[in-house]
Subunit: 477 residues, 2 copies
């Protein structure tokens, strides 16, 4: 028995040993300068993981303030909160940039249903941002299911007085889920403008998600150049409801779908970008931006979209200050307003940067959720792209393997220019569209470590960019 227990004990320890994977970061593969960088990066990660503030900040933003669509009282609370917090972190200066933003309101909770053999099926539904309301009585009409804008357009006048149901699902074989989103979102954005033109009564769209579940996902739409009298109400239904409706339509092609919503677009409202900076120690006239968007959809708390980007951006500055890292160039944290329905904050920021002849060297945006870090997407000239990619060995010990050329983000894109290096932070995207623009995008879906690893990842690339993109002339590390 004694022998058995000893054997057993050693097998237990084997379990933990077998699972050990982490190797100490091998400083021998690094040059002297890279060793300094590697040590600095490790320090940024250690601080984030042991003294990080982002998780608690996120709790306040999501649970105390909540959903904060542009023009809402919550969005204004978020502005005040953001300004106060930037001051608390001790940025050298903090200010608000006034900007007029669209002001769309959802109104009463939407209702949708249809009857099969006298039995009513209720459908989870939500209006799309900028949609008009239905009449007070709602819309009741037969349904035509289509899979694309082209298929809808081909219907022509057959759409008259019908509800058009866009039901092309995400391509789940795409590994990066933003690709699947990109392949479907035209239905949501343009569906109503296409169908309104032919006298359809309304448009319903399958929710933008990889999952099959009961949550309708909102998001912005546009009537494009459609004359106002042709505007029709549009809404998203849950993916499961879309599957069921599609099946029911096969057996009952003449079923009548009913929905009612009371949303409306009010006059533009005054709001703000929140901006704070650490003055550069050597060339303060050169500016790096790190940011996310402060507004969110109204259905939930705006945790992954984009509370995480907000608190991570500020944590970059916090990590610099906490470790007494003084950026050579000015490091500016921007909480952009109105990314979700207008990107007015982004445009205002770029407009003022131009007006004030500010020299932006680079910008980093976090607007892909707060999941475990995977890397960065680089939108820069060839020289700078290669420079950033050369940092792979410094970043890969932290799971940051993806350093591909690609887009950056909607809020920093207006800063695009030949010598401006734009970077999008890219966390793992597998779960993102479970929560995106729907009622489940809440604080409890964010993991503290994953959030903090993201802050440290962002701080690390900003540290390297500040050092090596110095004065916009790349220096080989």
């Amino acid at each position: 028995m004694k022998k058995l227990l000893l054997l057993f004990l050693s097998s237990i320890l084997l379990i933990s040993c077998n699972q050990k994977q982490e190797k100490p970061i091998d400083n021998n593969q690094f040059s002297a300068e890279e060793k300094i960088d590697s040590t600095k990066i490790k320090t940024l990660f250690n601080t984030a993981l042991t003294e990080g503030k982002s998780y608690e900040w996120l709790r306040v933003l999501t649970q105390n303030i909540g959903g904060r669509l542009s023009g809402s009282p919550e969005a204004e609370k978020a502005v005040i909160w953001g300004e106060k917090l930037m001051n608390e972190v001790g940025l050298d200066s903090v200010w608000l940039q006034p900007v007029m933003v669209p002001h769309w309101v959802r109104g009463e909770k939407e209702v949708a249903n249809y009857a099969i053999n006298g039995v009513q099926k209720n459908v989870p539904i939500c209006a799309l941002g900028f949609s008009i309301a239905t009449s007070k009585e709602g819309v009741l009409a037969e349904v035509i299911e289509v899979k694309s804008l082209e298929e809808a357009t081909a219907l022509g006048d057959k759409m008259k007085d019908k509800i058009i149901f866009f039901n092309r699902p995400f391509d789940n074989t795409l590994i990066k889920t933003f690709e699947a989103y990109g392949g479907c979102v035209d239905q949501r954005v343009k569906g109503a403008s296409v169908c309104g033109n032919f006298g359809a009564k309304g448009v319903i769209v399958r929710s933008m998600t990889n999952a099959v579940d009961d949550y309708p996902h909102t998001g912005t739409m546009s009537y494009g150049d459609l004359p106002k009298e042709k505007h029709i109400p549009t809404a998203a239904i849950s993916s499961r409801a879309a599957n069921i409706l599609s099946d029911d339509l096969k057996a009952n092609p003449n079923l009548k779908f009913y929905f009612k919503q009371s949303c409306e677009t009010l006059p533009d409202a005054p709001s703000f970008n929140v901006v704070g900076e650490i003055k550069g120690s050597e060339t303060p006239e050169n500016v790096f931006v790190v940011g996310g968007h402060l507004d969110s959809w109204d259905l939930a708390e705006g945790a992954h979209d984009d509370g995480t980007g907000i608190v991570q951006s500020l944590e970059v500055a916090y990590l610099f200050k906490k470790n007494n890292i003084k950026p050579k160039n000015t490091l500016r944290v921007v909480f952009f307003m109105n990314e979700e329905n207008g990107t007015k904050g982004a445009k205002k920021y770029a407009e003022l940067a131009k007006l004030n002849k500010e020299n932006h060297i680079g910008a980093l945006e976090s607007d892909g959720g707060g999941h475990t870090p995977r890397g960065f997407s680089i939108d820069a000239n060839t020289v700078n792209t290669k420079l950033l990619q050369s940092w792979k060995k410094l970043l890969s010990p932290y799971g940051l393997h993806d350093l591909d050329k690609g887009g950056s983000g909607a809020d920093i894109s207006p800063l695009k220019a030949e010598n401006v290096t734009l970077v999008g932070y890219r966390p793992d995207s597998q779960r993102y569209f479970d929560y995106h623009h729907t009622s489940t995008d809440t604080f409890d879906k964010v993991n503290k470590r994953e959030l903090e690893l993201g802050s440290a990842s962002m701080a690390s690339i900003i540290y390297l960019m500040d050092k090596y993109l110095y004065n916009n002339t790349p220096v080989k590390p």
Copy 2:
């Protein structure tokens, strides 16, 4: 306004375009043979992501059967379920391997508390596997807090009649969380054997987790060669309770901690490994194993530990069959019994393999949770390790970047030999110890896509191993 709307529409589309990261897999970088492999791997992923069964299987295993500690009625139900399911998937042969397993039972729900200034604080607690019970009245004693086995040992006879409180937390700066676990678990495994020897009344251990929360985490312990009369009860308390108790002890060093538990170790019970195989088309005498463990702790549903490993392992065979891929060597799926407290199933499997002179070429284990894929850990000779690492360009489009040398897993380790290639599947580990061995390890914590991506990752490396480790003589791809 029309111009504004058009501008707006294009900015919306910019959002989705900016987020697009995925590039088509560049077949030009591949040799002719690698193009075949790349296509095959893509097919495995496509099938998993569109026709995968693992999520539904996991739902049944976790929600219909539930926690399934060795020797429990649920473990036996899981054996019957596993055998039936392997037959349904259409494996060529399915059988049970009898094995005697330890049979420890938790008994009544544990109780713990202490009083400060007459106010009682209740403490979330759970007995550790193989611990003895307290007396029916429970244990009440003063507490000495220590951070290590060495610190405890140094106390010597001062431990007499005291409760020893092990409170060394995870090192949260370690990026791979299994490292942090490996650095702490000795407190849980050996604490009672060290302290029992000096007459302590009991041992309580801080839960093994990165998080600070209210869930006690169970896990196995051992009395080693301590004589039976020196065995003392041991339990884990939640990490938050550990922090609070530590603070309270500073102000009230003489506080008395109380806990009661009624667990016991019953005689060994009969159980089974569940084994099924697809016969090899060329050299059926050569065997590859893919497996996980069927047993789980009793506090939850055993979702991430290790329901996900079970369903992913079977899905490897399902993906082969669905795509009509006939392995050259025999592909054997093994649901190991009793990984959590004894690894008797693993030992039995290896013992029978030796007895039956089976030629194992390799084995793959999934026992690190069902989160998003990161890679594999390779325990093989140098030639085979390099061969596996040469597949990086085939695997990295799926987020599989980690192909380091390291341990494999507790259930396949007994198969270790010079020419046997052992591989551990390594999903992202950041959230894993939030759920590990505690009541929150439930089905809802598993994401369908992440689970399926894991199955496909495993199927892909098995496909490559079957093709290139053929007959144990590595062939350059």
